[in-house]
Symmetry: none
Subunit: 215 residues, 2 copies
Protein backbone atom coordinates (compact mmCIF):
# COMPACT_ATOMS: atom_id res chain seq x y z
CA UNK A 1 0.00 0.00 0.00
CA UNK A 2 1.43 3.30 -1.10
CA UNK A 3 1.12 6.06 1.49
CA UNK A 4 0.13 9.42 0.03
CA UNK A 5 -0.13 12.89 1.50
CA UNK A 6 -1.83 15.90 -0.04
CA UNK A 7 -0.84 19.45 0.83
CA UNK A 8 -3.31 21.95 -0.54
CA UNK A 9 -5.02 24.98 0.96
CA UNK A 10 -8.14 25.11 -1.17
CA UNK A 11 -10.55 22.54 0.21
CA UNK A 12 -12.37 22.03 -3.04
CA UNK A 13 -9.18 21.16 -4.89
CA UNK A 14 -7.89 18.99 -2.07
CA UNK A 15 -11.14 17.04 -2.10
CA UNK A 16 -11.02 16.62 -5.85
CA UNK A 17 -7.48 15.33 -5.65
CA UNK A 18 -8.41 13.01 -2.81
CA UNK A 19 -11.24 11.57 -4.87
CA UNK A 20 -8.92 10.98 -7.81
CA UNK A 21 -6.38 9.23 -5.67
CA UNK A 22 -8.89 7.04 -3.88
CA UNK A 23 -10.01 5.63 -7.20
CA UNK A 24 -7.06 3.29 -7.01
CA UNK A 25 -6.77 0.53 -4.41
CA UNK A 26 -2.98 0.89 -4.47
CA UNK A 27 -3.07 4.16 -2.60
CA UNK A 28 -3.80 5.05 0.96
CA UNK A 29 -4.37 8.72 1.67
CA UNK A 30 -2.51 9.20 4.89
CA UNK A 31 -2.55 12.95 5.38
CA UNK A 32 -4.29 16.00 4.01
CA UNK A 33 -2.73 19.24 5.17
CA UNK A 34 -3.69 22.82 4.29
CA UNK A 35 -0.14 24.19 4.19
CA UNK A 36 3.54 23.43 4.59
CA UNK A 37 3.67 24.02 8.32
CA UNK A 38 0.90 21.51 8.95
CA UNK A 39 2.36 18.69 6.88
CA UNK A 40 5.67 19.07 8.64
CA UNK A 41 3.98 18.77 12.01
CA UNK A 42 2.28 15.62 10.82
CA UNK A 43 5.48 14.14 9.42
CA UNK A 44 7.25 14.75 12.68
CA UNK A 45 4.84 12.37 14.32
CA UNK A 46 4.78 9.82 11.50
CA UNK A 47 6.90 10.01 8.39
CA UNK A 48 5.83 6.72 6.89
CA UNK A 49 4.76 8.46 3.70
CA UNK A 50 5.88 7.53 0.21
CA UNK A 51 4.71 10.40 -1.94
CA UNK A 52 3.53 13.93 -1.18
CA UNK A 53 1.50 15.92 -3.66
CA UNK A 54 2.32 19.50 -2.84
CA UNK A 55 0.63 22.68 -3.89
CA UNK A 56 2.92 25.65 -4.45
CA UNK A 57 0.83 28.63 -3.43
CA UNK A 58 -0.29 28.31 0.17
CA UNK A 59 -0.46 30.48 3.26
CA UNK A 60 1.73 29.80 6.33
CA UNK A 61 4.44 27.98 4.42
CA UNK A 62 4.40 27.61 0.66
CA UNK A 63 5.17 24.43 -1.24
CA UNK A 64 8.70 25.39 -2.20
CA UNK A 65 9.79 26.09 1.35
CA UNK A 66 8.06 22.99 2.63
CA UNK A 67 9.70 20.87 -0.05
CA UNK A 68 13.07 22.28 0.88
CA UNK A 69 12.60 21.26 4.48
CA UNK A 70 11.06 17.88 3.83
CA UNK A 71 13.54 16.79 1.18
CA UNK A 72 16.32 17.71 3.57
CA UNK A 73 14.94 15.95 6.59
CA UNK A 74 13.26 12.94 4.98
CA UNK A 75 15.04 12.56 1.65
CA UNK A 76 13.35 9.26 0.89
CA UNK A 77 9.95 10.91 0.57
CA UNK A 78 9.12 11.74 -3.04
CA UNK A 79 7.48 15.11 -3.60
CA UNK A 80 5.44 15.94 -6.68
CA UNK A 81 4.49 19.56 -7.14
CA UNK A 82 1.03 20.51 -8.14
CA UNK A 83 0.30 23.97 -9.41
CA UNK A 84 -1.71 26.00 -11.85
CA UNK A 85 1.45 27.78 -12.94
CA UNK A 86 3.50 26.48 -15.82
CA UNK A 87 6.24 29.07 -15.88
CA UNK A 88 9.93 28.43 -15.91
CA UNK A 89 10.68 30.01 -12.58
CA UNK A 90 8.25 27.86 -10.66
CA UNK A 91 9.54 24.74 -12.39
CA UNK A 92 13.07 25.70 -11.48
CA UNK A 93 12.28 26.51 -7.91
CA UNK A 94 10.41 23.25 -7.56
CA UNK A 95 13.26 21.20 -8.92
CA UNK A 96 15.84 23.06 -6.86
CA UNK A 97 13.84 22.62 -3.70
CA UNK A 98 13.94 18.87 -4.11
CA UNK A 99 10.71 17.99 -5.87
CA UNK A 100 11.02 15.15 -8.33
CA UNK A 101 8.02 15.99 -10.48
CA UNK A 102 5.59 18.73 -11.43
CA UNK A 103 1.95 18.33 -12.36
CA UNK A 104 -0.63 20.87 -13.41
CA UNK A 105 -3.83 20.86 -11.46
CA UNK A 106 -6.20 19.55 -14.05
CA UNK A 107 -4.65 16.14 -14.59
CA UNK A 108 -6.86 13.11 -15.00
CA UNK A 109 -6.77 10.35 -12.39
CA UNK A 110 -4.76 7.98 -14.60
CA UNK A 111 -2.04 10.54 -15.07
CA UNK A 112 -1.86 11.13 -11.35
CA UNK A 113 -1.64 7.43 -10.69
CA UNK A 114 1.11 6.95 -13.20
CA UNK A 115 2.95 9.94 -11.80
CA UNK A 116 2.94 8.51 -8.32
CA UNK A 117 4.39 5.25 -9.54
CA UNK A 118 6.94 7.07 -11.58
CA UNK A 119 7.98 9.17 -8.62
CA UNK A 120 8.43 6.03 -6.54
CA UNK A 121 10.55 4.44 -9.23
CA UNK A 122 12.90 7.42 -9.31
CA UNK A 123 11.38 9.00 -12.38
CA UNK A 124 10.38 12.56 -13.09
CA UNK A 125 6.64 12.77 -13.60
CA UNK A 126 5.48 15.87 -15.38
CA UNK A 127 2.46 17.22 -17.14
CA UNK A 128 2.84 17.58 -20.89
CA UNK A 129 3.14 21.35 -20.71
CA UNK A 130 5.81 21.08 -18.05
CA UNK A 131 7.69 18.38 -19.93
CA UNK A 132 7.87 20.75 -22.87
CA UNK A 133 9.41 23.44 -20.68
CA UNK A 134 11.80 20.97 -19.13
CA UNK A 135 12.87 19.82 -22.57
CA UNK A 136 13.53 23.42 -23.56
CA UNK A 137 15.57 23.92 -20.43
CA UNK A 138 17.69 20.87 -21.09
CA UNK A 139 18.19 21.88 -24.69
CA UNK A 140 19.19 25.38 -23.63
CA UNK A 141 21.71 24.18 -21.09
CA UNK A 142 25.10 24.18 -22.75
CA UNK A 143 26.59 20.88 -23.84
CA UNK A 144 28.73 19.93 -20.92
CA UNK A 145 32.39 19.66 -21.69
CA UNK A 146 33.38 17.54 -18.79
CA UNK A 147 31.65 14.33 -19.68
CA UNK A 148 34.25 12.77 -17.44
CA UNK A 149 32.95 9.23 -17.28
CA UNK A 150 32.25 8.51 -13.70
CA UNK A 151 34.15 5.86 -11.93
CA UNK A 152 32.02 3.01 -10.87
CA UNK A 153 32.58 2.32 -7.23
CA UNK A 154 30.10 -0.53 -7.32
CA UNK A 155 27.91 0.95 -4.69
CA UNK A 156 24.66 -0.93 -4.33
CA UNK A 157 21.28 0.73 -4.56
CA UNK A 158 20.87 0.66 -0.81
CA UNK A 159 24.32 2.06 -0.25
CA UNK A 160 23.53 4.99 -2.53
CA UNK A 161 20.35 5.63 -0.58
CA UNK A 162 22.32 5.69 2.64
CA UNK A 163 24.96 7.92 1.07
CA UNK A 164 22.32 10.38 -0.06
CA UNK A 165 21.02 10.68 3.45
CA UNK A 166 24.53 10.89 4.86
CA UNK A 167 25.15 13.82 2.54
CA UNK A 168 22.21 15.72 3.97
CA UNK A 169 23.76 15.55 7.40
CA UNK A 170 21.35 13.11 8.95
CA UNK A 171 22.51 11.01 11.88
CA UNK A 172 22.69 7.23 11.68
CA UNK A 173 19.61 7.10 13.85
CA UNK A 174 17.62 9.38 11.54
CA UNK A 175 18.76 7.41 8.51
CA UNK A 176 17.74 4.17 10.17
CA UNK A 177 14.38 5.72 10.94
CA UNK A 178 13.89 6.99 7.41
CA UNK A 179 14.83 3.73 5.73
CA UNK A 180 13.10 1.54 8.30
CA UNK A 181 16.24 -0.41 9.19
CA UNK A 182 18.26 -0.58 12.37
CA UNK A 183 21.03 1.68 13.55
CA UNK A 184 23.44 -1.23 13.26
CA UNK A 185 22.56 -1.82 9.65
CA UNK A 186 23.11 1.80 8.76
CA UNK A 187 26.52 1.56 10.35
CA UNK A 188 27.38 -1.48 8.33
CA UNK A 189 26.29 0.19 5.10
CA UNK A 190 28.39 3.21 5.96
CA UNK A 191 31.41 1.01 6.58
CA UNK A 192 30.96 -0.66 3.21
CA UNK A 193 30.54 2.69 1.47
CA UNK A 194 33.71 4.06 3.03
CA UNK A 195 35.65 0.95 2.08
CA UNK A 196 34.45 1.10 -1.52
CA UNK A 197 35.16 4.83 -1.83
CA UNK A 198 38.45 4.45 0.03
CA UNK A 199 37.67 7.16 2.56
CA UNK A 200 37.29 7.16 6.28
CA UNK A 201 34.78 9.79 7.09
CA UNK A 202 31.49 11.17 5.98
CA UNK A 203 32.78 14.33 4.38
CA UNK A 204 35.36 12.47 2.35
CA UNK A 205 32.67 10.14 1.06
CA UNK A 206 30.45 13.03 0.01
CA UNK A 207 33.31 14.78 -1.71
CA UNK A 208 34.26 11.68 -3.67
CA UNK A 209 30.67 10.86 -4.49
CA UNK A 210 30.04 14.34 -5.82
CA UNK A 211 33.18 14.34 -7.93
CA UNK A 212 32.45 10.83 -9.17
CA UNK A 213 28.92 11.67 -10.22
CA UNK A 214 27.24 9.40 -7.72
CA UNK A 215 25.43 12.23 -5.99
Amino acid sequence: MIQIAIVEDITRIAEALKAKILLSPDFKLKFIAPNGAEIIKLLERDHNVDVIIMDINMPEMNGIEATNLISQRWPQIKIVMSSVFDDEQNLFDAMLSGACGYLLKDEVPQKIHRSIFEALEGGMPMSAMIAKKALQLIRKSSPSQNVQDQFDYHLTEREIQVLEQLSKGLSYEQIADNLFISYGTVRKHVENIYRKLEVNNRTGAIDKAQKGGIL
Copy 2:
Protein backbone atom coordinates in the same frame (compact mmCIF):
# COMPACT_ATOMS: atom_id res chain seq x y z
CA MET B 1 -4.46 1.15 -32.15
CA ILE B 2 -1.09 2.76 -31.53
CA GLN B 3 1.43 2.22 -34.29
CA ILE B 4 4.94 1.44 -33.05
CA ALA B 5 8.28 1.10 -34.77
CA ILE B 6 11.45 -0.38 -33.35
CA VAL B 7 14.89 0.59 -34.62
CA GLU B 8 17.58 -1.68 -33.22
CA ASP B 9 20.51 -3.47 -34.80
CA ILE B 10 20.91 -6.35 -32.38
CA THR B 11 18.29 -8.93 -33.29
CA ARG B 12 18.09 -10.41 -29.82
CA ILE B 13 17.30 -7.06 -28.24
CA ALA B 14 14.87 -6.12 -30.98
CA GLU B 15 12.99 -9.38 -30.45
CA ALA B 16 12.91 -8.88 -26.70
CA LEU B 17 11.51 -5.40 -27.15
CA LYS B 18 8.98 -6.67 -29.67
CA ALA B 19 7.81 -9.30 -27.22
CA LYS B 20 7.42 -6.70 -24.48
CA ILE B 21 5.41 -4.41 -26.70
CA LEU B 22 3.14 -7.12 -28.04
CA LEU B 23 2.08 -7.93 -24.49
CA SER B 24 -0.36 -5.06 -24.77
CA PRO B 25 -3.33 -5.10 -27.12
CA ASP B 26 -3.08 -1.32 -27.48
CA PHE B 27 0.01 -1.55 -29.66
CA LYS B 28 0.60 -2.63 -33.18
CA LEU B 29 4.21 -3.21 -34.14
CA LYS B 30 4.42 -1.70 -37.57
CA PHE B 31 8.12 -1.72 -38.35
CA ILE B 32 11.30 -3.27 -37.10
CA ALA B 33 14.40 -1.76 -38.68
CA PRO B 34 18.07 -2.56 -38.02
CA ASN B 35 19.35 1.01 -38.39
CA GLY B 36 18.48 4.62 -39.10
CA ALA B 37 18.78 4.36 -42.86
CA GLU B 38 16.31 1.48 -42.99
CA ILE B 39 13.63 3.08 -40.84
CA ILE B 40 13.76 6.20 -42.98
CA LYS B 41 13.26 4.14 -46.15
CA LEU B 42 10.27 2.50 -44.50
CA LEU B 43 8.81 5.80 -43.32
CA GLU B 44 9.13 7.24 -46.80
CA ARG B 45 6.72 4.58 -47.98
CA ASP B 46 4.40 4.79 -44.99
CA HIS B 47 4.77 7.21 -42.12
CA ASN B 48 1.62 6.29 -40.25
CA VAL B 49 3.59 5.63 -37.10
CA ASP B 50 2.88 7.09 -33.67
CA VAL B 51 5.95 6.21 -31.65
CA ILE B 52 9.43 5.03 -32.59
CA ILE B 53 11.68 3.31 -30.10
CA MET B 54 15.15 4.13 -31.31
CA ASP B 55 18.46 2.61 -30.36
CA ILE B 56 21.41 5.02 -30.31
CA ASN B 57 24.36 2.90 -31.34
CA MET B 58 23.76 1.40 -34.75
CA PRO B 59 25.69 0.94 -38.01
CA GLU B 60 24.71 2.82 -41.18
CA MET B 61 22.95 5.65 -39.42
CA ASN B 62 22.89 5.99 -35.66
CA GLY B 63 19.88 6.88 -33.57
CA ILE B 64 20.79 10.50 -33.07
CA GLU B 65 21.17 11.26 -36.76
CA ALA B 66 18.02 9.32 -37.59
CA THR B 67 16.07 11.16 -34.94
CA ASN B 68 17.28 14.46 -36.31
CA LEU B 69 16.00 13.60 -39.76
CA ILE B 70 12.73 12.04 -38.66
CA SER B 71 11.73 14.76 -36.22
CA GLN B 72 12.40 17.30 -38.92
CA ARG B 73 10.46 15.53 -41.63
CA TRP B 74 7.66 13.91 -39.62
CA PRO B 75 7.40 16.07 -36.48
CA GLN B 76 4.26 14.37 -35.29
CA ILE B 77 6.10 11.11 -34.71
CA LYS B 78 7.26 10.72 -31.13
CA ILE B 79 10.68 9.22 -30.70
CA VAL B 80 11.83 7.56 -27.52
CA MET B 81 15.51 6.73 -27.28
CA SER B 82 16.66 3.41 -26.02
CA SER B 83 20.24 2.89 -25.00
CA VAL B 84 22.54 1.16 -22.58
CA PHE B 85 24.31 4.44 -21.99
CA ASP B 86 23.22 6.73 -19.21
CA ASP B 87 25.70 9.54 -19.62
CA GLU B 88 24.94 13.21 -19.91
CA GLN B 89 26.22 13.66 -23.43
CA ASN B 90 23.99 10.99 -24.92
CA LEU B 91 20.99 12.33 -23.05
CA PHE B 92 21.77 15.78 -24.24
CA ASP B 93 22.30 14.71 -27.87
CA ALA B 94 19.09 12.72 -27.81
CA MET B 95 17.06 15.66 -26.56
CA LEU B 96 18.65 18.02 -29.05
CA SER B 97 17.99 15.68 -31.92
CA GLY B 98 14.30 15.75 -31.18
CA ALA B 99 13.66 12.70 -29.04
CA CYS B 100 11.04 13.24 -26.38
CA GLY B 101 12.16 10.50 -24.04
CA TYR B 102 15.04 8.24 -23.09
CA LEU B 103 14.84 4.73 -21.77
CA LEU B 104 17.52 2.31 -20.69
CA LYS B 105 17.42 -1.09 -22.26
CA ASP B 106 16.41 -3.20 -19.36
CA GLU B 107 13.02 -1.67 -18.67
CA VAL B 108 10.08 -3.87 -17.79
CA PRO B 109 7.08 -4.07 -20.15
CA GLN B 110 4.88 -1.89 -17.95
CA LYS B 111 7.40 0.91 -17.99
CA ILE B 112 7.68 0.73 -21.77
CA HIS B 113 3.95 0.67 -22.05
CA ARG B 114 3.57 3.72 -19.85
CA SER B 115 6.36 5.50 -21.66
CA ILE B 116 4.65 5.12 -25.00
CA PHE B 117 1.47 6.65 -23.64
CA GLU B 118 3.41 9.43 -22.03
CA ALA B 119 5.20 10.19 -25.26
CA LEU B 120 1.87 10.38 -27.07
CA GLU B 121 0.49 12.73 -24.47
CA GLY B 122 3.40 15.11 -24.89
CA GLY B 123 5.29 13.93 -21.83
CA MET B 124 8.91 13.07 -21.36
CA PRO B 125 9.28 9.40 -20.50
CA MET B 126 12.58 8.49 -18.90
CA SER B 127 14.18 5.69 -16.98
CA ALA B 128 14.90 6.48 -13.37
CA MET B 129 18.63 6.85 -13.95
CA ILE B 130 18.02 9.21 -16.85
CA ALA B 131 15.50 11.23 -14.90
CA LYS B 132 18.16 11.77 -12.27
CA LYS B 133 20.59 13.09 -14.88
CA ALA B 134 17.92 15.29 -16.42
CA LEU B 135 17.16 16.73 -13.00
CA GLN B 136 20.85 17.49 -12.54
CA LEU B 137 20.96 19.23 -15.91
CA ILE B 138 17.97 21.37 -15.06
CA ARG B 139 19.35 22.23 -11.66
CA LYS B 140 22.71 23.13 -13.14
CA SER B 141 21.21 25.50 -15.67
CA SER B 142 19.32 27.29 -12.94
CA PRO B 143 18.88 30.99 -13.61
CA SER B 144 17.39 31.54 -10.17
CA GLN B 145 20.56 32.10 -8.23
CA ASN B 146 18.96 35.11 -6.65
CA VAL B 147 16.57 32.88 -4.73
CA GLN B 148 19.31 31.70 -2.46
CA ASP B 149 21.76 34.53 -2.73
CA GLN B 150 19.27 36.75 -0.96
CA PHE B 151 20.22 35.20 2.33
CA ASP B 152 23.37 36.41 3.93
CA TYR B 153 24.26 34.30 6.88
CA HIS B 154 26.68 36.93 8.19
CA LEU B 155 29.56 34.55 8.49
CA THR B 156 32.79 36.29 9.33
CA GLU B 157 35.93 35.85 7.30
CA ARG B 158 37.43 33.54 9.85
CA GLU B 159 34.29 31.49 10.02
CA ILE B 160 34.35 31.00 6.27
CA GLN B 161 37.96 29.87 6.49
CA VAL B 162 37.01 27.33 9.11
CA LEU B 163 34.00 26.24 7.08
CA GLU B 164 36.18 25.67 4.03
CA GLN B 165 38.42 23.38 5.99
CA LEU B 166 35.46 21.66 7.58
CA SER B 167 34.13 20.92 4.12
CA LYS B 168 37.32 19.15 3.18
CA GLY B 169 36.84 16.70 5.99
CA LEU B 170 39.62 17.93 8.23
CA SER B 171 39.42 17.28 11.95
CA TYR B 172 39.28 20.13 14.43
CA GLU B 173 42.87 19.37 15.32
CA GLN B 174 44.02 19.63 11.72
CA ILE B 175 42.09 22.85 11.23
CA ALA B 176 43.59 24.34 14.38
CA ASP B 177 47.00 23.39 13.08
CA ASN B 178 46.37 24.89 9.65
CA LEU B 179 45.02 28.19 10.95
CA PHE B 180 47.46 28.46 13.86
CA ILE B 181 44.77 28.61 16.49
CA SER B 182 43.80 26.23 19.26
CA TYR B 183 41.49 23.26 19.13
CA GLY B 184 39.12 25.08 21.46
CA THR B 185 38.92 28.08 19.19
CA VAL B 186 38.10 25.96 16.20
CA ARG B 187 35.28 24.44 18.21
CA LYS B 188 33.91 27.82 19.09
CA HIS B 189 34.01 28.96 15.48
CA VAL B 190 32.21 25.80 14.46
CA GLU B 191 29.53 26.42 17.06
CA ASN B 192 29.00 29.93 15.76
CA ILE B 193 28.87 28.73 12.17
CA TYR B 194 26.26 26.11 13.00
CA ARG B 195 24.14 28.61 14.87
CA LYS B 196 24.23 31.07 12.00
CA LEU B 197 23.43 28.45 9.41
CA GLU B 198 20.83 26.84 11.65
CA VAL B 199 22.30 23.39 11.39
CA ASN B 200 23.79 21.08 13.96
CA ASN B 201 26.43 19.15 12.19
CA ARG B 202 29.23 19.43 9.70
CA THR B 203 27.48 17.94 6.72
CA GLY B 204 24.40 20.06 7.14
CA ALA B 205 26.61 23.13 7.20
CA ILE B 206 28.38 22.10 4.01
CA ASP B 207 25.10 21.37 2.28
CA LYS B 208 23.66 24.74 3.23
CA ALA B 209 26.85 26.59 2.42
CA GLN B 210 26.99 25.04 -1.03
CA LYS B 211 23.37 25.80 -1.77
CA GLY B 212 23.75 29.32 -0.40
CA GLY B 213 26.81 30.06 -2.51
CA ILE B 214 29.19 30.42 0.42
CA LEU B 215 31.39 27.57 -0.72
